[in-house]
Symmetry: D2
Subunit: 423 residues, 4 copies
């Protein structure tokens, strides 16, 4: 087990930063890479992403708060300043002569939720629990970042021929960062892209060579506006935005299932009204729609807007929509799946290799996968099993650190193999 990588992972775990707030994280990875790998290029923040394609960026007050918090840790001021306004992430490049350009995408953001302080929770017991009350690495992106660094280190000292680019992507949890990296110039010459995720209910020692079943996703916000009135004196003068919202929620979940594949809808956040004695004038739904294909997601999006629009009309309210973050569906190419499966089968510590599995959720790595595939390249999303006590996104999620080495070894091995195959 690489002690350096474990130590890096634990440090990141202690300071989780949610989407577009990865100020400490970006600076810390930059520092780690500079001290350990002889990179040819390191693009940071606005140089790593196409800033105008960022989705779901928080407001300035929120960004400023996390920025100041990162500064207080004493990170490199020059790097930090370059990240201002929520332009986070890195692209690290290693050039090793003629050969294919291989990409590896790892995501680095945390989640806005508290972490367990139960002594049975290893990060709590061993002193690397989150220092931020409302943030936690509850999805293993701390391990992903460590794997990214480890792969660069291992490839740097290997016989790899070609170019390796590691994309340390921000804002995956809000499907907000993938598009900005897929639109950057760095992706354009990538011939083969690997992406990685730990866990997903696979135990330590198990590798899934190619993960599919990414649901296309879109976030959608609806703001209802009616008219307030005194709830006791003149209920008939109101146009009730909460009643409209409730009718919308009831019927959103009732959008017909589609025979072409999985569809999803969720009214994830709702709110409305101002006081018990006032007919509510305003209400809001933050919803998401998903589909097994982008077409199915569009079907749900169309139906959801139609439902919401008519629920508003029923209660004589207006409604305005804002489209939020989104990600398409994607599939892993068989060529790469075969390589990963073969390499994994020969890797120490790997006891079981599954060729394929379904994710069942969404991921904006699909933006990068599709960009590479549309350019004629191939892409593959690799699962690295890890025993995790709690489920993903729960307060007791944790990774078995042994899986960090498995990830580094399988991905490095696959990258070398790709380089040999393509040369």
């Amino acid at each position: 087990m690489s002690h350096d990588l474990v130590s890096l992972r634990r440090d990141l775990h202690r300071r989780p930063e949610p989407a577009w707030r990865e100020f400490y994280t970006t600076a810390r990875i930059a520092a780690e890479l500079e001290s350990r790998v002889d990179l040819d290029e390191l693009h940071v923040g606005p140089d790593a992403i196409a800033s105008e394609h960022r989705l779901a960026v928080p407001d300035d007050i929120e960004l400023a708060e996390w920025y100041e918090q990162a500064r207080a840790t004493g990170v490199d001021e020059t790097i930090l300043e370059s990240l201002e306004g929520g332009q986070t992430g890195l692209v690290a490049v290693l050039e090793r002569g003629e050969g294919p350009t291989v990409g590896l995408r790892v995501d680095i953001d945390g989640l806005p939720r508290p972490e367990s302080d139960d002594p049975a929770h290893v990060p709590a017991a061993e002193g690397f629990r989150s220092e931020h009350e409302d943030a936690m690495h509850a999805c293993g992106h701390d391990a992903h970042a460590a794997i990214g660094v480890g792969v660069l280190e291992q490839i740097a000292s290997s016989s790899f021929q070609g170019t390796l680019k590691v994309f340390f992507q921000p804002a995956e949890e809000v499907v907000g960062g993938g598009k900005s990296m897929a639109k950057s110039e760095h992706i354009r010459d990538v011939d083969a892209l690997l992406a990685v995720h730990v866990g997903l209910d696979h135990p330590t020692g198990e590798i899934v060579a190619g993960i599919d079943g990414f649901l296309a996703v879109r976030h959608l916000e609806a703001e209802f506006t009616g008219e307030s009135a005194h709830a006791g004196g003149h209920p008939e003068q109101g146009r009730n935005a909460v009643q409209a919202m409730a009718a919308a929620v009831q019927n959103l979940y009732g959008i017909p299932r589609h025979n072409d594949g999985r569809t999803r809808v969720n009214a994830g956040v709702v709110e409305g009204g101002s006081a018990a004695n006032v007919i509510p004038e305003e209400a809001r739904i933050l919803a998401e729609v998903r589909g097994e294909t982008t077409e199915l997601m569009e079907y749900m999006d169309r139906k959801a807007r139609h439902t919401i629009r008519n629920a508003a009309a029923m209660h004589e309210c207006d409604v305005a929509f804002t489209t939020g973050a989104e990600a398409p569906s994607a599939t892993s190419d068989q060529e790469l799946v075969d390589i990963v499966a073969d390499v994994a089968g020969r890797t120490a510590g790997v006891e079981n290799v599954l060729e394929r599995d379904e994710l069942g959720g969404s991921e904006d790595a699909t933006f990068l996968m599709r960009a590479v595939q549309e350019n004629g390249g191939t892409a593959c999303y690799v699962g690295v099993g890890t025993d995790h006590p709690g489920g993903h996104h729960t307060a007791t999620f944790d990774v078995d650190e042994a899986s960090i080495d498995h990830g580094v070894d399988v991905l490095s091995g696959a990258i070398e193999r790709i380089s040999r195959t393509r040369t």
Copy 2:
């Protein structure tokens, strides 16, 4: 027009304080009374109310903020300190020999809403617009306080025989203060109680001798708890608190109308969920129910809880209820209505007298009215017309200050008459 009363009303208008935060208001009224009326007793804050019966008291942080704001105006520190923790309001007593004890109830709190800065809005044009961004005297309680002071002054120099008690009641807007005054010792010996409200869509020069139609009201909060799940990966594992809440809202408004009289229900504030991609685990409804009688309000309360409980169960959620503020219904006694009508008909500036009208809303003056009536006394709620450009509770509400004198004259006249009738 009494310039002193107008000046007092404008000063209070400039510093509106919502329920239980009437720190400046209480101190200012106390100072005004001390400088202008030779009172026999002045009970302030915890001496004026039964603190344990306060309803809908805000949290300590909120109270502290308004407390400090009041202190910054330089009010009497001794009085201010006595109000700590949100114990506001006053009872002023004038004893003038043998005779009945007559009560007058005026309320003094503002509303948590911004005031218009339109130059056509008189307070804006004449420089006494609210100094607090999120508070406004949008219901005329500033004028009520001035009327209370004016009546004390006028009765003090009249031939009145008996005892006059003026109840400057806090927290009417949240139906939170009436009970605490009704439970205080001061109400016990009141033989006849008058309460007053300006406006209510009656123009300047019109008096309503007896207002009825107070709806009994109760606030009710329901907290739904389900179980979160990944909305894309495992929607079937969730127990959706927002779906439960929406089903409850849809069916709350559908509680059957009642043949015995008016009933009301409103889901005034709702919220739920944490993120677009998480099946919502928590949701909340802050509702109110009303009835033309207390029995009808209880009918609505029972039905509302039943509806909410089953909506929760339908979506496999738990629900917990908190009962908030409330007020009963009440009626004005004919004996006092006759007196007020007769006095009003002889009062300068009064052009029209209506014997009765319906309020159509709720008011916690009903707690005091009922307390007096249950002790064998009589009670009457008097409407003093005032031209008001905007509706009650809107950003452009204002009073025609001429109506302050009408209120003082009619109420003082009625109080004198009561004293003569009862002696």
Copy 3:
């Protein structure tokens, strides 16, 4: 107790006929009148009503079935033939010299519901229970018809001066017959109109001189049309009319209560769909809306249509409306109320007289009342108490036959008094 009237009432009770199917009833009343009263005119069927203003007429098959059933009893064929197509009802006229024209309106239809066969139910015990399985005189109109005959008889032998017209009105239960009598020529010269109802929760011996609180009512039918689809194979291809209907029902009951007075809405009959495995293509709501005033009924009608229209649109269905029967609100004139109250107070068997009470339901006598009032006349709706074991419209409803005489005596007395007052 008049044995003849009891005997007539029991005969009608045995053969209840619902709206526009009063073939036997009309013929029976005609025969009864001809044998007992020396009438000046008797208008039957199409001569009694303005046929084109009939509302809620059943279809031809239904009419034909009841017609044949009546024929089988052996009633007068000539009269029966004149009623063809559901033109039922009678107007009986008695002319007694100079004087006012006084009208009395009684309704004669039964209800489409089975009657109890419990031996404790008097009609069952005494052998005059309904012979028609699905019809019953469950609202006392059999007694009303008997009272109408009794009044004619009594006035015929009295000192009454003027003209008496008794309107035996069909189809009250579907608010379908009042309009057609109000539009007939017979109502035009009526100076004073009395209408009568037994029971209404008032005991035998109690008279309500003037009933008010008639709710204006309108029936409304909505037909939803969507598109069917295989519920297993292609749910997404359907446009679900039942889902639309359910959303409409949920929100219909949630139309805001109105501060101006009582409002009602009921989705009284609904149906939809064709098979468990087909997404429903069609659905239907038969609703009614009511209001304390005609304006409030119109408010409910407008809101109901709006709600239904948007519920249909939400589920991509079309909807077509049919307006059914209706009746306005009306009030009893004080002048007549005073007369009835005074007469009732002097009538044998009457122990208690209430001046006013509220109906709380609807009645299409209001069409006749309004027609007379608009012509400058007066109208009054009289309640004649009767002990009734079951509630109105239930299987065990029955009248205390002693109240038939009370009705005859009070109404005849009032008619004579009106004649004296007006002459």
Copy 4:
């Protein structure tokens, strides 16, 4: 094209009989078989099925009506009498020495819907349109019956070694007959079972060797009972069964989608209430639930009942459930799929062979398939393409009669091949 089979199909088409009413159909097939095939056994009605396992049997009045209608056509009285009470269907057995027992299942019922009389609709143009106003062979079961007869005829004159059993199954459209045949003794010794369906959006000349994707299905009826009340006078006294039903429908369609596979729910038929002015006392939902697996169907069943139960409780109604017909999911065995695909590829008129396709609906052939598979045998559901102008279950559905021969040839060929393979 076999003229005899076309002629049989057209005769059956002219007299479609819905589930358990296949009196004419059963007698007609029996007569046809007796005149054309030298059978070893023919089991009819109660001898063909396990009567006690029939599902969704109509009531006696309905059965009697169709029985009399069949009798009127002059069919064999002895056979007809054996079918009394809705015991329809046949099992025809051909024994040809040693060898495997091969089964073929064809269904024979029609649908309760009218047929198009458009001259462009071939059955209308050529004079074999349904003689029954409310029934139609709109799913091709007339062709299935003809294919069953044709296969018996062809195998009888072939070199087939073993036993052939053809199951002419009643009541497939209500998933009511499969279970009763699967529970009969005739299925027990079947080694390999073929089932067949024409059309399913596959054109003439196309064969699907193995159809999968049968959704498990269950029908569920919920009867709500509340309490009626006068909708104008006392809405508060009602317990509204239609409101309960509407809340149930709204939330049924909102049962969470399941990540393990396809789920379905449909409130296919609803009704409730008695009159516009009565708060509805009764309402009914006839629903169905489905799942990609039997477990998923059970999940939907559990959630549906829970939803309905709580919707009833919310409106203070009782609810009673009746479980209707059902069918499990099933899959086609690869061994038989390979045989059918190979035989089809060599069959005249067959231009295209698909190995697999998904049904996307339900079918109670699954009961027979599972019974055979549980006994160690194999099963396969074969699709025979046919150009059909209208969709299945629509008024203009029709089959291209050329496909009858394709069906006979492919199935007979496969049956012979199975016999050779297994011997």
